[in-house]
Symmetry: C2
Subunit: 221 residues, 2 copies
């Protein structure tokens, strides 16, 4: 007899949660362990150690904190939570983004019903799952490039950096401190700080080392 797979569901539309629960309940291997209506609730729920789930079904658009932020939270805290993102957007950028944030599966709401059970079982085993429409989007976009082990080039993140942010990033890789940069660039320390912060946010890394590593990988050096 197999072990049960425990699942937590997060979506701001109660009706959708109920739908998912209904579908999931048809499979006796899977059991729902609570649900959340906002990203904050998700984080709060998982922060209590008696509340754990093998898989989290996560909507991207939610009030208070959206799905991205929930993923960021897990990544930041180094919590290795298996997450399946449930989205109404079949946008490549979003898919890439959540992949970078460590999500293990992605299904669009269009055909969630037919995929959800399978997705949960697959992800619970430690594999990745993408509903076939998402898969085709991915493949099409990365023409020729096979989907590797969840590692996606994040060139598109690089594009989102402003001039000033790039300047700061470069200096950081040269071991400059904030004060030294402010001095060099003739800016207030606060300003440089602001750029650091937005770099950390945009590139979604934990600290200056993460920024440096990012810079290296994208040969900004």
């Amino acid at each position: 007899m197999k072990e049960k797979i425990y699942v937590h569901v997060a979506d701001d539309h109660k009706i959708l949660i109920e739908g998912i629960i209904a579908v999931i309940n048809t499979d006796k291997e899977i059991e729902i362990k609570g649900y959340s209506l906002t990203g904050q609730e998700v984080i709060d729920w998982f922060s209590q150690k008696e509340n754990q789930a093998d898989v989290l079904i996560l909507d991207i658009t939610m009030p208070v904190l959206d799905g991205f932020q929930v993923l960021k939270h897990f990544k930041k805290k180094r919590i290795d939570q298996k997450v399946i993102v449930l989205s109404s957007y079949d946008d490549l950028k979003i898919v890439q983004e959540v992949l970078n944030l460590g999500c293990k599966g992605y299904i669009s709401k269009n055909n969630a019903g037919e995929h959800i059970v399978n997705a949960i079982k697959t992800v619970a085993k430690g594999e990745q799952y993408f509903s076939n429409d998402i898969q085709s989007i991915l493949l099409k976009s990365i023409s020729g490039q096979m989907v590797p082990q969840g590692e996606m080039p994040d060139k598109f993140l690089l594009d989102s950096l402003t001039e000033r942010e790039l300047d700061v990033l470069k200096l950081i890789t040269k071991e400059y401190s904030t004060i030294e940069m402010a001095d060099l660039m003739n800016l207030s320390v606060n300003t440089v700080e602001t750029y650091r912060k937005s770099l950390l946010k945009k590139l979604n890394v934990k600290n200056a080392v993460g920024l440096a590593m990012y810079a290296v990988k994208n040969n900004i050096v």
Copy 2:
């Protein structure tokens, strides 16, 4: 009429300083601006902004703080001081080490007399100078590899890292914080701190970013 070149001399043997001064005084383009008997004195001297010199003649073996530490101090403070190292050791490692620390010239005490004036003038112009015996050592060792722009591969530094230090270094590149590392490695936070400190010292970088960059350059990743 050319501008004068101001020189500061540091060596723990007064007699050697006097010798150098005597030699230098034969050239009216160069003028001595003070001397120091310990590394600490050097740092103290330069820390006063009325005390500046174009070129610092620096002995490696000195009490209180040796020449290495003086160079490290300049590098750390990002002071672009031109330094000629004066050493009794014609050891390759030492030459490489001081080159990495940003020194611009190296002459051995054996033939300091015939080289010192020329070395000072060369370095003052912004070029590098090595007495010919040092040059031959360098060339011999890096068989085939021409002396580049003062950038020397520091593989030998890498060798000096211990297992534990390497472990920590790797984790640092993965954006781990000290606390997280201590947790993961089952060590006290203090211990991990110790490794960080010795990494910073050994690799002679300013901060964690420097460590990460070093790791990348030497493909430790």
